[in-house]
Subunit: 359 residues, 2 copies
């Protein structure tokens, strides 16, 4: 999938007018055939995919990993600036990220969509093109789902299945004092991308200046609209024989995830503000928006990087891996603390995004 769509997000409404086949014209069964026919099954464990009352998996690994997530229009995404192909793609990859967070490998997915009559067959096809692209990129079989109408907007519900073994599966609960606290990549960009989109939407709606030039925001927009799960990190950890003691993916913001690790492992953590990886391009966008880059990293969310802990003795091994950043260590205090750039120690509140604050 090209990222060109990222820079044409605001002409989406015009695109919609080119062709609009109402879903009622096709009917549920024909719609399902149309959207699922391009999907191919590649996992040997898929005995039966779509087409019966349930899917059937066989010859499974020792452990099965399962997670589910719902994306709701107006809550998790704004169709005005979210290309539907990217939305389909993102709905799958954020779930893959949950499997990565268990140090496991995603294998199968079920996707249900509920859609109002403002959505056409062409638009649904676009969503499924994105879903298919994610399945292809990450070698995942689509094995089921449900389609239904909705009273308002689009709801995508995804259940992901992954494989693991007792040896590899990693929980939030295994961190020990003195463990190193690592992240797999830079933070804050996805949130900044969202702020740019919201700003441009406001301008577009009030001034209608046409399609804005968003090229200089390409990195933060891509992080928001087309995140990628860190399956490469999982592979790397296995290659290097590094077993994290705890792991979580950063979907709600670093601060919130640190609190999860702290609570589940009954430990404290200390992070160093200066070590939190934030790209220069993100800092520039934060400056433009008058936002504190550290706050974006701590509370923004949707970065889908992995946050994990490793025993101190693996220090040399993890240091060798370029994208891994040691942001702090595990303590026995029970507190989630940050040493600021001015060398003061502050407690970090778990200011994550709460879906119910918005209703």
């Amino acid at each position: 999938m090209s990222n060109k769509a990222i820079f044409t997000v605001f002409i989406y409404c015009k695109m919609k007018k080119t062709k609009f086949t109402p879903i009622s014209e096709l009917g549920e069964h024909n719609l399902i055939s149309k959207i699922t026919s391009p999907f191919q099954l590649t996992q040997i464990t898929t005995k039966v995919g779509i087409g019966d009352d349930s899917a059937v998996l066989s010859d499974l690994n020792e452990e099965l990993i399962i997670s589910t997530d719902v994306l709701v229009e107006g809550v998790h995404f704004d169709p005005m600036y979210t290309p539907l192909k990217h939305l389909g793609y993102k709905s799958v990859v954020v779930n893959i990220s949950d499997v990565c967070a268990m140090n496991a490998v995603a294998t199968h997915v079920l996707v249900s969509i509920s859609i109002s009559n403002k959505y056409s067959v062409e638009m649904i096809k676009e969503i499924y093109e994105g879903i298919n692209q994610a399945c292809k990129n990450y070698n995942i079989d689509l094995i089921g789902g449900d389609t239904s109408s909705s009273m308002s907007g689009l709801i995508i519900s995804v259940t992901i299945i992954g494989k693991s073994t007792n040896e590899f599966t990693t929980y939030r609960s295994g961190a020990k004092p003195n463990d190193l606290l690592m992240v797999s990549g830079d933070l804050g960009a996805a949130y900044l991308g969202l702020q740019i989109l919201e700003r441009e939407k406001g301008i577009f709606e009030t001034q209608d200046l046409g399609q804005p030039d968003l090229t200089k925001y390409s990195y933060v927009l891509e992080r928001q609209l087309k995140p990628e799960p860190r399956t490469d990190v999982i592979r790397l950890l296995r290659e290097k024989k590094i077993k994290p003691t705890s792991m979580i993916d950063i979907s709600d913001g670093l601060a919130s995830e640190l609190h999860h690790i702290s609570k589940c492992s009954s430990i404290g953590v200390k992070v160093f503000e200066e070590r939190i990886p934030i790209k220069n391009t993100s800092r520039l966008v934060a400056d433009e928006l008058n936002l504190n880059p550290t706050s974006c990293a701590l509370n923004g969310g949707e970065d889908y990087e992995l946050l994990f802990t490793v025993p101190l003795e693996l220090h040399d091994e993890v240091r060798e891996i370029p994208s891994f950043v040691e942001i702090g260590h595990v303590t026995s205090t029970g507190l989630v603390e940050m040493v600021t750039t001015t060398n003061s120690v502050v407690n970090l509140p778990p200011n994550s995004w709460d879906t119910f604050k918005h209703i």
Copy 2:
């Protein structure tokens, strides 16, 4: 769960006024703790349930059965006459029914809900009480889910997992000419229950005569509001060593399911109108509503009985089982035919309920 609620469905709006804690007051994490704490895990394969990025299952059976379904307010249910506890219950059991339709045993479930701000903490608790009751009744572990806000109404998304072995798993595709065509119980009642609820809603809204006396409709209302999956049939088939050649659950109506079996198995079916099991109490309601009882059975749906085929030589064995009804047989014509009570043969169209006809 008592069925008393069935007869008090129209006072639901008044109930809501008694206590209303906004969900935003509690926040997402507290809401999840509150609604999931009464759930107990009993399946030995559940290694980790709710509380990490994903659930983990281990020591699995040879085959894993997975299905997913979405219930949308205003499309699949009307909150005016659907008690929320029953709704939670139904959302799980309709998925168990999909596992039964594979001749398998449901073991785990993931439930996601998206809710608008017209729903209170008390209402969500009611939904989860119903979900818990279904989990207890059918020995199923709740192992995951997602909660989020929605722009409009309530959406419940359920993924069910079941266990099976190659020996037992039954598909829609195995029916052979001359096989006997069986159903596990009476049909049409759930649809008739829905018609009664719709009629009473109309009266309630226009005339406000207070709570109507629905006692005489108790059977059809129960079939609509609190269906039960036929796990007993699956047990019975195993006890009697009867392996159906094909199986499906009747969620969209007998005619639609016959077409599925016919298409998937590349065979025809011939059913006899006079053998289609319809309870007298359902016939009386159909008469009152001026509906043809056979049409209700063929096209109504939501009965959640099992439709299955068995080899002719098992005739004596299946005949012994009281609730099983032989409604016809498999043919090689490729047609879905019905011999009417006046002895004419008609082709049955797959007039199932299509979600997209309504948008």
